[in-house]
């Protein structure tokens, strides 16, 4: 649910970025949102670790506080301007093709989000590739990782920063609901299918692509909301895998006895 929290917590960042840059250009808005998104994840983690607060409580305290700060900032300094999370949060995937990147010379280079999100994809993929071993160990057994001298706090913050980067940059083009659907749905489905972290990552990515295509064509066919259809396909995919596994288990259990404990 960190994604949900970030979507609200980015508001003060947007306002501050607006106050500093004086414009509603996307780039400063994104930078502001990204910075507060990371601040939010750091605060959540800090409260969770240092104050022994439960994660949901830490999330609740942090994102309501940051959201409220954003509201106050708008009221005090930017009351006349139409400024809210719409500027970065509630993107609509159908508009991506018309959000073009046009150079100063008038050259059209294609949809702008494609470039931004490709860069983010590259950064996140590289981060996972380089830190795979450390990320795996610090998530699985933090005490052992610390005993080896690997800083669990550092790696957790880096991971959270990557989550924040990926979510904030996606919010702008596809909207908050779809980001959360894609953040949770594909890995949850993959977890049902495999218990190997590498396969899980691969299946998650493949499922994400599959859902994007089928969701899009369902929307085209039904003439419905693209984001809505993608989220629905995500849910159906999870339910289908879950149901198939339950069926297989009840069928297969007499042939394959449960393993002896020993």
């Amino acid at each position: 649910m960190v994604g949900d929290a970030i979507s609200h917590a980015v508001l003060p960042g947007i306002v501050i970025a607006f106050l500093l840059s004086g414009s509603r250009e996307t780039l400063p808005m994104l930078l502001g949102a990204g910075a507060t998104g990371m601040l939010a994840t750091f605060l959540i983690e800090y409260f969770h670790r240092r104050a022994n607060l439960q994660t949901d409580a830490a999330i609740g305290v942090t994102f309501t506080f940051l959201f409220a700060v954003g509201i106050i900032l708008i009221g005090a300094y930017a009351g006349q301007v139409d400024l809210d999370q719409d500027c970065v949060l509630y993107g609509e995937i159908a508009y991506v093709p018309i959000d073009l990147w046009v150079t100063e010379g008038g050259l059209i280079l294609g949809p702008r989000p494609v470039y931004i999100l490709s860069a983010v994809l590259l950064v996140v993929a590289l981060f996972i590739k380089i830190g795979y071993k450390e990320l795996k160990l610090t998530s699985f057994d933090p005490a052992f990782a610390s005993a080896l001298g690997i800083s669990t706090a550092l790696w957790h913050y880096l991971l959270m920063a990557a989550v924040s980067l990926a979510t904030v940059s996606s919010f702008e083009s596809v909207g908050a609901i779809l980001v959360i659907a894609f953040l949770i749905g594909p890995p949850a489905t993959a977890y049902l299918l495999t218990h190997d972290l590498k396969y899980m990552l691969a299946i998650t990515a493949a499922l994400g692509i599959f859902i994007a295509f089928t969701g899009y064509w369902t929307a085209y066919w039904l003439n419905a909301s693209i984001a809505g259809c993608m989220a629905v396909v995500t849910g159906i995919g999870f339910a289908a895998v879950f149901a198939a596994q339950r069926l297989m288990k009840t069928k297969g259990s007499p042939a394959e006895p449960t393993r002896a404990i020993g």
């Binding site: 699985f140 005490a143 052992f144 610390s146 005993a147 690997i150 495999t194 404990i261 020993g262």
Partner: protein, 262 residues
Amino acid sequence: MIIHAQTPVLEVHDLTVTYARKPVLWGVDFTLPAGCIAGIVGPNGAGKSTLLKSIMGLIPVSSGYVRLFDHPLDEVRHRVSYVPQRESVDWDFPVSVLDVVLMGRYGKVGLFRNTGARDRAIAQDCLDKVGMAAFAKRQISQLSGGQQQRVFLARALAQEADLYLMDEPFAGVDAATEQAIIKLLREMAAAKKTIVVVHHDLQSVRAYFDWLVLLNMHLVAAGPTEQVFTEEMMQQAYGGRLSLLSQVSDVMEKRAFPSRED
């Protein structure tokens, strides 16, 4: 009563640890010789796990210091292995048995580098030593409690350390596994490795350990088992707990008869 070792492998000096201003360990002071199997014994809440964690630098100490091989921990981290309590990790995490054992090699491999074929061979060999070679590809969620403990032990072996700190390795383990583990620990001790074990079962103290640290927030006694494991000392450590005292005197009675393990 403290009996110090001549050339200590582990030296804990006047260690005080507090949680939220309440002392958990108070002026603990002892030394351990090389090549011994040492038991840390004491009632619940005596600070046994806390002692291991503070030796590994996992929790801050209020005063005192710990020296390993006559060095501070950071200089000799690669020579020390820590086995956390089995419950401290999420056994539904998507990794295989071999993956977990390979984590023992992470400290040797270093940051950002991957484990190689040699590490795999060592990990496989360590699994073999704990009788889990056939389970290498198995997902850890499919293991029984005793098997999980043996996987943790294999991971510790893969570290090729000289000092092993184990937090309740016999908890939730059946008698056969316990015997297999203690046999392995004896072989390690014979190879001049030092093993420190947090232990609960007073019945097996004399059979398993050649050095004993009796703890009840402060140090009650430390030294060779035959000198420390006396009724007087045990009453000091467990003082006032009647059911335990009867258990203790039960054990003491057994001393009069030659034990089969000896």
